[in-house]
């Protein structure tokens, strides 16, 4: 028997495909945002609000990741330039989108006609933190009914986020969510993350969020 040295990252295969996706997106000048949250935090609502607000400025496409159904794809269909629904139920992994799924979804996208790609990940705070997709920015949404302790319970997803959004601000009078506690946790884990407070119901805060998105898309475009 002999020992052989290996030292190889097991996630490398996903990262290789993610890099390929990123190169393809850059080539076609598409800016991609990976939107993650627990189920029901408002990923689809945020996507709808973002598309409505930026409609005159950006052509947006959406990739919807869900275990099953086309419910979300149908909701965003009318506003989006293109929509691809990925159902993970019949895949060996069902808990998160992975780079290979995005690679095949991109084949069905008119990339030359798109400025912004919003990728709605499967609702889950654990698994998506392990898999990069080739996105330019990672965004995590937390909503008030979930409680202010999510960053300390699921730190990894918040540590890697470029922006953290608190959604359902309209419910603040009705729930015990301490904004200061939540923001302190985020500042500790990830001081560089942009912070937003929005309500997709009342559109509070959406303007600032959309300005940030537009700024990211434009900054990225001038870099190329």
């Amino acid at each position: 028997m002999k020992k052989i040295e290996v030292i190889q990252n097991v996630l490398e295969a996903n990262e290789t495909i993610a890099n390929r996706n990123r190169q393809l997106l850059d080539k076609h000048k598409v800016f991609a945002i990976n939107i993650m949250s627990s189920p029901g935090a408002g990923k689809t609502s945020l996507i709808l609000q973002t598309m409505a607000k930026l409609k005159s400025k950006l052509d947006t496409a959406v990739i919807e990741g869900d275990v099953a159904s086309t419910v979300d794809a149908e909701k965003v269909q009318s506003e989006a330039k293109a929509v691809v629904q990925i159902n993970t139920r019949n895949m060996p992994e069902s808990c998160s989108l992975m780079a290979a799924m995005i690679e095949s979804a991109l084949k069905d996208m008119p990339l030359d006609n798109i400025d912004l790609l919003l990728i709605e990940n499967v609702g889950n705070l654990i698994c998506p933190s392990e898999f990069t997709l080739g996105e330019h920015k990672r965004v995590v949404i937390s909503s008030l009914p979930e409680g202010d302790d999510k960053p300390i319970k699921y730190p990894l997803i918040f540590i890697d986020a470029d922006a953290v959004i608190i959604n359902k601000m309209d419910l603040l009078p009705h729930v015990d969510f301490d904004i200061a506690t939540f923001r302190r946790s985020i500042a500790g884990l990830n001081p560089k993350a942009e912070a937003f407070q929005v309500s997709c119901k009342t559109s509070e805060g959406i303007e600032r969020w959309c300005s940030w998105v537009l700024e990211q898309v434009e900054t990225n475009a001038t870099k190329r």
Partner: protein, 113 residues
Amino acid sequence: MHEFGVTENIVNIALAKAGEAQASKVIQINLVIGEMSGFVPDCIQFYFDSLSKDTIAQGAVLHFELVPTQLRCRNCATIFHPQDTLWSCPKCGGQSIEISKGRELYIESMDVE
């Protein structure tokens, strides 16, 4: 729940490396896994047994070396292991904390014949 793809990668890497070493059998695969990584060793072994069937890695033992979480205070650079879910520095009380170890998942070495 996402161990299937990861295990496929482990089998692919092991078979490629065993091929390079002209081995006829993989006896043990030594993996390093961080305490904070979201992967469950028992689950990886379960998928491994099925994915490695009829290959030279069939029957190989997966040995996991667990790397404890190690945090670093951004304020005073103290390295510490978290005692609870509230991450604060035991020395200065600072709450600006980064992970220095505990997210790993890699194959370190293999025993082959």
